[in-house]
Symmetry: D2
Subunit: 358 residues, 4 copies
């Protein structure tokens, strides 16, 4: 009934607040015998760390994972893997003025309405700092999927309304935004700079591509692969939209245009299908068809801005709020490894679920 656990065969339970002593996750259900060490988390966590890109929040966190359980002599044991990441550069005093005031666009007011109490420091449990645990869980999921060759990559395909129109994957690998369009990136960075100067923020659209997915993942009828992926992605703060394959654009196609013709691989006699197109985004009837899973995710602009905003305090008194300090201008690119992690976790869960069947 409480909601801090995700998954069935691979079950992740996260905990921690922005300014508590640590964040962490318990990953239960990881198969035994998989190599895992604290070093494996360094690179993925550094990708979501503040201060790693222009105009991002200057909070410095070391973000080192401490593995507490479930690993013995470098291998997973099949028992729950718990890990924590300490909070260090917390500066809670910055938030003292927000103790009784609700920031617009944040969960401040809804947590207060839900629980009647809230940790006001940096958004508490609702902080994007919480995603450190998701990325760590994604590392473990990635390890489970390694033998299958599963690859999950996120790309920035739109930012502040500027759309990437080229698809240069080599270029995407070289820039922190993972934008596949060189010209678009120049404009995106200009938009980031402008918003930064105006103490405002911007949003964008991320495309996720998951390759080498075995067919047959996903369960009828509620735990469809789209449903579970959609849930995991929509559970990330700042995400307000998600679409699969052709997505909203599919609604404007005829059935004859949208259906992906099924072909067999040339020279193969047994069933070994390929698809002439991928409007389905690799999922048919909620079950993977073996094609690349394609998801686009809409990220709202960061609600923390330096401009004056109308709001109320816990007594209902109207007030104007001007946030001090510096915040990220955009959740992208820091959100990219978080979204990749959510896809990895869901795919790994469904791979383990499928094992019971065949």
């Amino acid at each position: 009934m409480p909601g801090n656990t995700l998954g069935e065969a691979l079950k992740i339970t996260t905990f921690g607040e922005s300014h508590g002593s640590a964040l962490g996750v318990v990953v239960d259900g990881c198969p035994p015998g998989i190599p895992l060490s604290e070093e494996d988390f360094l690179e993925p966590l550094s990708r979501r760390r503040p201060g790693s890109y222009l105009f991002s929040s200057p909070r410095q966190e070391e973000d080192r994972v401490e593995l507490l359980s479930g690993v013995f002599e470098g291998l997973t044991t099949g028992c729950p893997i718990a890990l924590i990441v300490r909070n260090r550069d917390q500066r809670s005093e910055h938030y003292e003025t927000l103790r009784e005031i609700f920031r617009p666009g944040h969960a401040d007011i809804t947590y207060f309405q839900k629980f009647g109490i809230r940790d006001h420091r940096g958004g508490g449990r609702a902080s994007s700092r919480e995603t450190v645990a998701r990325v760590a869980a994604g590392v473990i999921a990635g390890r489970i999927l390694e033998p299958l060759g599963v690859k999950v990559k996120a790309y920035t395909v739109e930012l502040a309304g500027i759309r990437a129109r080229e698809w240069d994957l080599g270029f995407a690998e070289q820039n922190p935004m993972r934008c596949p369009d060189r010209e678009a990136l120049v404009k995106m960075e200009a938009a980031l700079k402008k918003a930064y100067g105006e103490r405002d923020s911007v949003g964008g659209i991320v495309e996720l591509r998951a390759e080498n997915i075995p067919p047959g993942l996903g369960e009828p009828v509620f735990d469809k692969l789209e449903a579970d992926l959609g849930k995991a992605i929509l559970s990330v703060g700042a995400v307000k939209a998600v679409e699969f394959g052709a997505g909203f654009e599919a609604t404007r196609l005829l059935g004859s245009q949208n259906n992906d013709p099924i072909l067999n691989r040339p020279g193969v006699k047994a069933l070994d299908p390929v698809y002439a197109s991928n409007n389905s985004g690799g999922i048919l009837g909620g079950i993977s068809n073996g094609d690349t899973i394609v998801i686009r995710v809409g990220i709202k602009p960061i609600p923390s801005i330096g401009k004056p905003q109308k709001t109320v305090d816990i007594n209902g008194t109207a007030t104007e709020l001007i946030l001090k300090g510096r915040f990220d201008v955009c959740a992208i690119p820091r959100i990219l490894p978080v979204l990749e992690a959510m896809v990895l976790v869901v795919i790994a869960d469904h791979v383990l679920r499928q094992r019971r069947i065949r």
Copy 2:
């Protein structure tokens, strides 16, 4: 691990195939003392019945609910409510030619890849006929929410690329598409007719509005209200996209434009907020803020079309498939009560979950 159950405090488990003897649902967790009778299901089920609108599939089903348990002398008892709807007009023989061929855009091939066996008749478990159980569950959820005044309404806001630009709710109440724009509806019906004539199909976009939602629903961090609503909606066949509030459009706004200013109701001294806008779609940090929940859902064109399509059979032999018979031209309007039901079920679940807290 299997996936035919949804919800935590209100748990629904559905079963049944398109051409089996019955479909049904077990609703566990409904509070006691709520009036419920078989008649309560008639009107909602008639809304999703085939043949109720132009160019829809002519299959005739009575769709009468039989209540098997959980109701005593007209009141729910707190014990699981099981109900079934018999399949009558099945005509399985129509599907005999599809026993070994996979229809493009359908789950035929993925079910076969997943299970190594499939009920080929009418899509089996993957048929849209399955949604009859969802609508029935929604009726019960609606009863639970009645004392709170919760209203959930679906509207067709786009069909075949034709967008509703007027917002005439009175008009929407009067047409089966629940389209709020008189002129757009004329064009939509023309598009339906054209697709029908060409033995093709179309898709569209549905907007869901849930009103009188208490603040505080939704759980940190995975069972956010958007996450659970998104999952439930994406679990409906044909849905390929979902967005909340301003959705993808929010990604093109500045933070200062997207944040909804918080105001207090005039003359009220205690905390009783209203919002100057509703870009959030009524959900902040995954928790309801008391404003109207707004969701838009992208529905792909129906994959069953009369045009020739490339596909393969279970041996991998390439073939061309021309489907016989008549199919719906569009999942709208029959999908409207299904989507409303999913929202009702998730909201009722979270209302019951919230009760444990305060």
Copy 3:
């Protein structure tokens, strides 16, 4: 949160009341390709049917299973299997006098306290009639386990304080009590007759033996095999005690007596252990060790008796209750197939859970 579902990989959800229109179960997670027909349920259900043994309740039920879903052309499909058993010989009017009075030893009063409403007819959901759905689920679980050679058998080892001291399995197979001691059975039947004559009831102890269990079933640390078996067995009405292996008697042994020495099979070089004794009941640290699982279950005397009893009505008025009609004198032997079914369901669940690991 509601409690009518059991299991993780094999999930069973039951529904129905003693005097509703039907009882049933949805079995979700059954692997595909397993032969299953309505006839498979006849023999197991006849074993738990009233009237099948001396001094048992004369209520006549046909107890025919109707399969509603999940089976196609005689094989399971991997989709949820729903089945119902109709109630026919209900005679609700017999219970009219019990509408406002609570029978001692029954759940009448606690259901009323929990829900504020109750179906008074025959105990409603708390009736032993509910176990028909458990036996049906056990048939499906048994089918899943068939390829492993798993056998689960229940024996009456004590009744009304009369203990079986011989262990003649051949004899046990021939009597409905499945009592392995010929002399004890004679005394047990005399005790049944005496209680019948006095309009009273008796209890007893059932021993369950599960053979050919693969080692490795059960999960650290809460879902230990004993924990899940214990829960499933204690969820059967009338069960008040459960013990594994030497059970309570183990508490009187020294460690050196209770530990089961581990031997390897002669002539085998690889790890292939046998145990010199089985005080553990086939489970070590919550995980099966490959030896026979041995469980003893304490069954209380049936609370429905013809003698006058002190009780109260829904207004709290003290009264004396004399139940009319005839009831079973003992839950044994009708409970035997129910207990076997619970063990089968838990073992099948854990077999499917283990598949994800290795």
Copy 4:
């Protein structure tokens, strides 16, 4: 599917091994606004600490809880409470000889059979050290139940076959065994001493009493209160038997003896029942009736003994094992707070579950 989580509305997930860096638990679902500090755990954890009673294992652990999340300014927030207890005095080298040998009566062999890998140090995840996390969870559950006045107490009622026949609660409060019989305790301590001298071990029976339980807790039909209590208790290592109320003894009573007559409190007009006896152990039909919940738990003798034992190694080679070092002679009294904790956790879970209903 993995098994390290217990509960529905109050969900506890534990992790950690005997010789890993820490053990811990995430408690999700604790209501907000409850006072909680690290000091609250000191006394309960000291009760289960080694070395706190005669002939117990000399391993010294500080067992200080570190609260990582879910508490803000001394109050719970409604967000998950994670806590860890560091392992300090580990002496892993003692266990090096056990790397490839299986200790009889322990989970060594079954973990190896299940996972193909195991942490051999001190039993790894199967160590009784794991119960530190359970006791910590019990502290939080106890806090949730405080306003209801719920009290849960464990008593040693039998040890090494010596039964307590007096019931002197005042005396029980004064000895670490919580044995209510002064004379029996003298004999029990002599038995402990004797077993210690022989490098052997003994078992015993613990009685749990839970008072001030609201009526109406427990769910039909699988999540009966006995079922969930039984599962939680049987999930504790060393527990091999559990019974409720009159338990196995109830099987030797007539129905007319076993049924607890229902009386109303004198002078009260509304329904406010008391029971003339408590053979039910406070639970009818799986739902609490408001009377004291009485449970007896059979604890096997500790499998770690100093006497030579027959066993095999991971290659199947037969060998004789003589364990070095010192171990507890009996799981009692250290298991007492663990069993109390399990009862508190299950009761708190069901109290929160019941809130959704009325």
